[in-house]
Symmetry: C2
Subunit: 348 residues, 2 copies
């Protein structure tokens, strides 16, 4: 009897221990399951020869304020449970509408003295994409790219055809003078002057103008969906209907829920050759690299070795963010799920 009791007690103890173990395991699991989906956004307003000594405090404040405004607009959408697609579009629209950046108003001049804009957008949940190249009257090219994605059977359209499509879908059109800024006009003058003096291709864009003011944003929303978009006026003095990396899915823009979302800025030719955005996502997807490491491999190794300059912004499905660049500076900012904003211009 006494023995039975002891045996029973032992069994009971074991059962109790087992129950406690499962309970503990269960409670340990709980915080993970109950943990809220991370969300956030990362933006850029171009990388290049951005040096503090060439900047006035006033201009610095203007850039900082505009980047902050773009982050605030995107965050409000994400915080309210909106989509990453809506958040990046809102942020990019603010930068497109500002003359500070080389996208929308403030776009650089082509060799012909016109403006030709490119943009692309990608939804990481569906792998839907939209892109436009060489448009001349679209106030916000990123909006046209989104309409191409959502309203057409095609994913990329160029020139007049793209804008004819945009008009059917109420995309706002403006006359070319809308894009004019004195600063960009002077950049073209300087470029043409140097060209006439026989400068090499690399020297034609003066050092102080070596800012690739492309704008872009990448975001993760509360539904766990990633999105990225890029908008640009291209390169000062560009000729021959040149297309850069901004409208090329896999070069300037890429988003995939299984890895990360990326927008690039820089010397587009190199970004196309290296398929920069897709390569970073592939290193995450296939080699399991953290985004910071994947970004370093592509920007600080591959791009730098090839002689290209620029940078990228990256956000992954857990809300981690990275923004590697190999230029003197990059206009950039992040906002996380707590609403904490960080805006930077120069190298650390």
């Amino acid at each position: 009897m006494k023995l039975t009791l002891i045996l029973f007690s032992k069994s009971a103890f074991l059962l109790l221990a087992l129950a406690l173990f499962f309970f503990a395991a269960c409670t340990q699991q709980q915080p993970k399951e109950a943990k809220k989906q991370a969300f956030g956004m990362i933006i850029h307003g171009g990388a290049g020869t951005i040096l503090k000594e060439n900047m006035t405090p006033e201009l610095e404040s203007e850039y900082t304020a505009k980047l902050d405004e773009a982050l605030t607009a995107g965050y409000a959408i994400l915080k309210a449970g909106g989509t990453s697609m809506d958040a990046i579009q809102a942020a990019i629209n603010i930068m497109e509408d500002s003359p500070l950046f080389n996208a929308g108003k403030g776009a650089v001049f082509t060799n012909d003295g016109t403006h030709e804009l490119d943009a692309s957008i990608m939804d990481g949940a569906t792998l839907n994409v939209g892109a436009v190249a060489g448009v001349k009257h679209t106030k916000n090219p990123i909006n046209l790219a989104r309409v191409v994605m959502e309203q057409s059977e095609h994913v990329m359209m160029a020139g007049d055809g793209a804008e004819a499509f945009g008009k059917l879908h109420d995309i706002e059109m403006v006359d070319q003078p809308y894009f004019y800024t004195e600063r960009r006009s002077k950049q073209l003058e300087r470029a043409k002057q140097r060209e006439s003096e026989g400068a090499s291709a690399a020297e034609i864009i003066p050092h102080e103008d070596h800012k690739f003011g492309t704008v872009g944003a990448a975001a993760l929303d509360q539904h766990g969906n990633l999105a990225a978009g890029t908008s640009t006026g291209g390169m000062t003095n560009k000729k021959f209907g040149r297309i850069g990396d901004a409208p090329i899915i896999g070069a300037g823009t890429y988003a995939n829920n299984n890895s990360c979302a990326i927008s690039a800025t820089g010397h587009g030719e190199y970004f196309i050759r290296l398929t920069v955005a897709r390569d970073i996502a592939s290193l995450v997807e296939y080699k399991g690299l953290p985004i910071a490491e994947a970004g370093d491999v592509v920007i600080h190794q591959k791009l730098t070795e090839l002689g290209g300059t620029g940078g990228v912004i990256i956000i992954d499905r857990n809300g981690n963010m990275a923004m590697p660049f190999n230029t003197a500076g990059m206009y950039r900012g992040t906002v996380d799920e707590d609403g904490t904003k960080v805006v930077k211009i120069y190298k650390e």
Copy 2:
């Protein structure tokens, strides 16, 4: 003394064994080092609803003969020690000049009744690239893409600008009627008829016209260098300056000596969304997949799951070749270093 001798013999035996082992290892190595660099080429003339029951024996012979001619031209260059870049260009030129394929002469009609051609080329040794989109008078768009790559600071040009550049570099221009073929004209008529009857986008291109006759080639030369190129007239009835995957590096074309060279054909929108060519190369580069497996993952899994149709040709740095497609047929062919040619049209 006897013991010493035995010990000596044993030592001698061991030394002899060791010497023999190294000698064997050395001779085993030799064939590998002395082995000649593999070389070869793979081409396609489009994938789609290509069924034996819709084909006449005469047309089948014409296709087979033209693919054979393209392979022969490329092989002659490779055999003579020429570059993979020259070999693919020669092969693509032959297909561009033939009315059988949707590239150069024989290109499909846009909705406007015009022809707009796209092409791209990539050098796997240097990662140099060239691409043109929406050109209307270039007899051989792949030649223009190569000139963009070699003679300009840009890598991608569109429309009139691209052709203005081409004229500066003696690229042959033709009037639009050069591209005319009765067959493509009837395809446009049928597409417009269906469209006016309210057919959905997917139904507008009649079943029997569902051939994406893009042409492409990928090659490995005796120097161990890979190259790939693609040339197309795009989709019948295309509108709004639509750009497909053919001029997009990483979508329709990719080449990298560290992995493989690829040219794609199919419903371009899906190839852009999946960055098909770069994704196959990434699976080879980062996951170590053989090209046949990488091609299957992207074509038979990813592309098929997304609802896209088409195929790719792949050659790796060891001369292995693969040509996966998920359509009824794909005009395709291979030639290896022995000059052995294989030409196929339908599914096995």
